[in-house]
Symmetry: C2
Subunit: 388 residues, 2 copies
């Protein structure tokens, strides 16, 4: 187990009706002029946008807005947001949406404290020491962005999908109302479930020894996805399922599962490589890639972890020979993703075979990926070919 510092400053208001705290929380954190960020029309149709703005006007907090933020959010949205912030003297950002909107809002909060192009922050050309304070209203169980300091953004011009991770980008507060996820369509519910699971997997597959408790916490998140993912698909307004998935998403990437270890994250890097060239939903890319990554890295060295996962998560019998059990666990992972309606091959989402070398190059542009097994361009390409 490695040394670590735990710092979880984000306050979470979880449950039905928690939007009631929004106005007072913005005020408490010094917000006097707000930028409200959102994506699709769903937040307007479902009344979430109105609920938020009513709470702001109720506390006489003026606001401007930036709508239409796309999935796999673009640096162009961040540039536009930063322009609005500087033009209107905005001092607090409220994001309504899933991970994409939240990540975009973080980019704006960061860019507001930087004089150059905000993309510099993602390429590490520029640096900041603080950001505007943020509050989040979550509408999708998936990325965990509501309690972490990570922002992942796509630049369509340069064909890059890059991340920043800064402690001061952790939201001051997040409102998590499971009923706000009732109208998430089936494909997004499935993608969100895969995303939560993939975060747990990335952190599970660490080479740091002695992370027993961490591993068991990760299994708790994974079991929750197995249990409730299919329920939420069948009964979209099942509060228990939506609540557990929402809570699992937050725990899945608020650092709790990473304390004391170093996650792998190779599959995410390969997925970012795909997303930089194709507009493939994050969860879809991960559902395709993860089982292939697993099969690629399964060997004698990694056997213990895969075997533990097969037994604790998939209930593979103790009598089964470890390597066979590990393979069975991977097969069950693939089968579960399929049951959620996820494609199994890159060709199914229109990735061209001749683009695989380019995708591999993009995935490793900052060096070999993964810690569980270091993957260079050749290895990544091999995984991509198997996944194609």
């Amino acid at each position: 187990m490695q040394n670590f510092k735990l710092s979880l400053p984000t306050e979470i208001f979880f449950g039905k009706g928690q939007i009631k705290v929004l106005g007072e929380q913005v005020k408490r954190h010094g917000g006097t002029r707000v930028l409200v960020c959102y994506g699709s029309g769903r937040v307007k149709q479902q009344g979430i946008y109105d609920a938020v703005t009513t709470k702001l006007t109720g506390k006489e907090i003026p606001f401007h807005e930036l709508g239409g933020i796309a999935p796999n959010p673009r640096i162009t949205s961040i540039r536009e947001g930063v322009r609005l912030v500087k033009e209107h003297g905005i001092d607090f950002i409220v994001a309504i949406g899933g991970g994409s909107v939240l990540d975009c809002a973080k980019g704006i909060a960061a860019g507001a404290r930087y004089d150059g192009d905000p993309w510099d922050l993602y390429t590490k050309k520029g640096e900041i020491r603080s950001a505007l304070p943020l509050g989040m209203v979550l509408t999708l169980a998936a990325t965990g962005s509501e309690m972490n300091g990570t922002s992942v953004v796509t630049n369509l011009e340069t064909k890059q999908k890059l991340a920043i991770r800064l402690p001061f980008l952790k939201p001051r507060f997040s409102v998590l109302d499971p009923t706000y996820t009732f109208t998430v369509p089936p494909d997004q519910t499935a993608c969100g479930t895969v995303d939560i699971m993939s975060h747990a997997y990335e952190q599970y597959f660490s080479t740091v020894p002695g992370t027993f408790l961490s591993d068991r916490l990760g299994e708790a998140v994974l079991k929750t996805c197995l249990h409730y993912g299919p329920v939420a698909l069948k009964e979209p307004e099942n509060y228990e399922a939506r609540a557990n998935l929402l809570w699992a998403a937050t725990i899945g990437l608020n650092e709790l599962l990473t304390y004391g270890k170093t996650g792998d994250w190779a599959t995410h890097m390969i997925g970012h490589g795909v997303a930089a060239h194709y507009d493939v939903t994050h969860g879809v890319g991960l559902a395709i890639l993860f089982p292939h990554w697993m099969n690629f890295v399964l060997d004698e060295r990694s056997l213990d972890k895969f075997h533990a996962l097969a037994r604790n998560l998939w209930g593979v019998p103790i009598s089964m020979e470890p390597m066979e059990a590990a393979r069975e666990g991977i097969a069950r992972t693939r089968q579960f993703f399929t049951e959620l309606g996820m494609p199994a091959r890159l060709r199914e989402v229109d990735v061209a075979e001749e683009m695989l070398p380019t995708i591999a190059k993009t995935a490793v542009e900052f060096g070999a990926v993964g810690v569980y097994r270091k993957l260079g361009e050749a290895e990544v390409l091999e995984i991509l070919r198997k996944a194609w």
Copy 2:
């Protein structure tokens, strides 16, 4: 799943050598004159006291000290601490020790902001709205006091053991160095393991439906205790075992396992009843009482939870009939406590049979205890008789 607010302001510095941050952290939180609280001589012998005071003097922070704080800390120590704080104009408290020292330090931090007798705060006669800031250096994996706002204190005159829970008593930071627990003697290691498990149990047995993820997180903590408790007893300097137990103790009672549910806590209340009349170590009392409480509340209504625990924690086969499996799980709990060297009967720790009615009365002095099954004086007495 109930609505909840998550607020985890305490920063944790976990791992070997983390004491290095102490001086700068005290300064960061505004400490200019410190009260150092500690208990036994172990912290002096092992050099932890010196490590702390060196860090303070290194930052030119003057300090006073209060040593000799006893297990099951007394209100008299808190009164003495408050006197020192007021006499010397102290503005920050550093506690070195296990839960008893930490709980005492919290009482002092609270009492410093109250004009009357600090015991008033525990009997709810008095109220405060703030407390002195606190930093903790942990030397025992057990109570979770290092990341929560709870202080449990004994008044030997009134024969009461009472708790306060206030959000502003959460420490600003805690230093968790597993090597500081290497010299914890076997009986205290065993008691600490039982204490961690009992916290997980109290929160596991909630009547709130749909707390799947929470329950699985609780099982992760419990599995960690089963796995490493015996290891730490056999190999006291096994870093991996000590680190996982320390981390389990913190997670076990930092609110994470309670978000979305209401814990039971009847067994703790009965244990406090025992401790008010006898100087029985907290973990010993819990090890005796928990299996008896479990047998008492096991019925058709509670069967699902007990069955899940039997299967997920103790690996009782799925083929076993649920009620039988539940009883087997309880028997294994008892057996595990025995393997840790814990007594099984109140008579073994010199509790007199004729005192049981008095203990029962003390346990319910503020009303029936528990939510899993509400227990009045008669029911508590029945459990005590079975445990005697």
